[in-house]
Symmetry: C2
Subunit: 303 residues, 2 copies
Amino acid sequence: MHVADRLSKSIETNQSIACVGLDPRPHLIPPQLQSHSIDKHGNGIEAICDAFLSFNQGILDAVAGHCAAIKPQVACYEAYGWRGMQVLEASIAYAKKLSIPVIVDGKRNDIGSTATHYQQAWLGDIPIFNDEQHEGVGADWLTVNGYLGSDGINPFLDDENEHGIFVLVKTSNPSSGELQSQESGETSVMEAMAKLVNQWGSERLGNCGLSDVGAVVGATYPEEAKTLRQHMPHAIFLVPGYGAQGGSAAEALAGIRTDGQGVLVNASRSINGAWQTQNDAANWTDAAHQAILSMNDDLNNHR
Amino acid sequence: MHVADRLSKSIETNQSIACVGLDPRPHLIPPQLQSHSIDKHGNGIEAICDAFLSFNQGILDAVAGHCAAIKPQVACYEAYGWRGMQVLEASIAYAKKLSIPVIVDGKRNDIGSTATHYQQAWLGDIPIFNDEQHEGVGADWLTVNGYLGSDGINPFLDDENEHGIFVLVKTSNPSSGELQSQESGETSVMEAMAKLVNQWGSERLGNCGLSDVGAVVGATYPEEAKTLRQHMPHAIFLVPGYGAQGGSAAEALAGIRTDGQGVLVNASRSINGAWQTQNDAANWTDAAHQAILSMNDDLNNHR
């Protein structure tokens, strides 16, 4: 099935346009999980990785059936070397068992055969000796950086549209304008990127009318989101910056299509760290569960 | 010591401005290494990873003392999941034992605390529980994509200038102009990026007069390299696209400073696959050794 149709189905089934960031960091791990892992492994990378996996499984159980997708941030795992990548792979496998679509947030970018290796890593099959193939991680989407142009995008697009990408267009951070808002010809760099995204994806639509080439458009720039929607009518907007980063539901939904489709709103800290906000480490999974329900209410009220 | 001074010292000691790409791929592995690893592990990811590590150690032994740096392309390892990352970490450790500066080619990019995790992974120390730190991989440089602006760059810059970054400015691929050559105000996107690179790095110089913020500038665009040098007088240019990708020594050195400093030229396939060009699998390390010597001659003749 077209990856955009799978995502649309998940949105409909779960009545949620929320994407849950799966971004474990040491200070987000409840103390009892920390102690348990340190008791088992001593205080080192093994303990962190053991605790991260338990944490992720708890978060995934808490949000399954109530979110459209999950989005692990690769940096949180890559920091811990190969053991961290083991945790990421195991977490993705766990999410797949729960039938949650997975967006790997790697912002990967390279050209030709090197870009193909990133595609193989996250979305495809991996070549081994004697021209055989090995099954890869099998995520649904990967975030990519389009600075290198088509040579860096085409290797990620598969003929069956079974996997998709989100291309960085307008990021949520304060300094995003340093390059992205530079005037470029009659428009801006982000608009030039948006036009490329449309060019790459406008003929790769699922039955839902959305493409397997989406765009990252931060919740913190709602006016830009409206302009960018005009350049990318068929792109799903993956919207970071909601909640902890300051964007409201109305701002996060600024780029939504008139048919109410085409936006996926990410939240990480407000779900992963909900137990801290509620000061209730003992019930950290309940806190995450309540947080995703609140997020859905907030978003669905503004949709 | 300032990371640019360490690199300058390596260039001087080894009389080489060559950077050797450490990019193992199944078809580049000599058949006897393939058979040996398949015999040990069966034909799967374990065999690939076993062969990759043997291959890398052979290449590193062959080029040690004759290159300025090595540059592993992360995608080649990431394709093979956590086992691939184990090989990358072991290869970097092996290069460090041989005192070869290491440039991790990851083209990483993100913002704030997430960018910090990439910095920790490759250049810094990693936070574990109880506010303790664990030693990281310890590479010297990391390639990064600057599309997100200062928020995505500052986390990589350390107060002691002991680690550096190369920011993508003009990449070597044919479609690089789709965004990078767009007119941006009175210049182009790549020039806007070059000005940012200069802003980030121009006050972070080593005794050699070069910065810990360098730039990736492809050998395939020599005219652009000359223009970009004017915008970035203190940046080391990491130059891909020499050799197999089509750039000549003269083209690769187009952005060199008038003092003969500031360029590092990368070659991957022509070194890693030298045994194929010479059709001599039995002597694959000798072939790599001869290839680096030829590359040095070619570059030093044009310097």
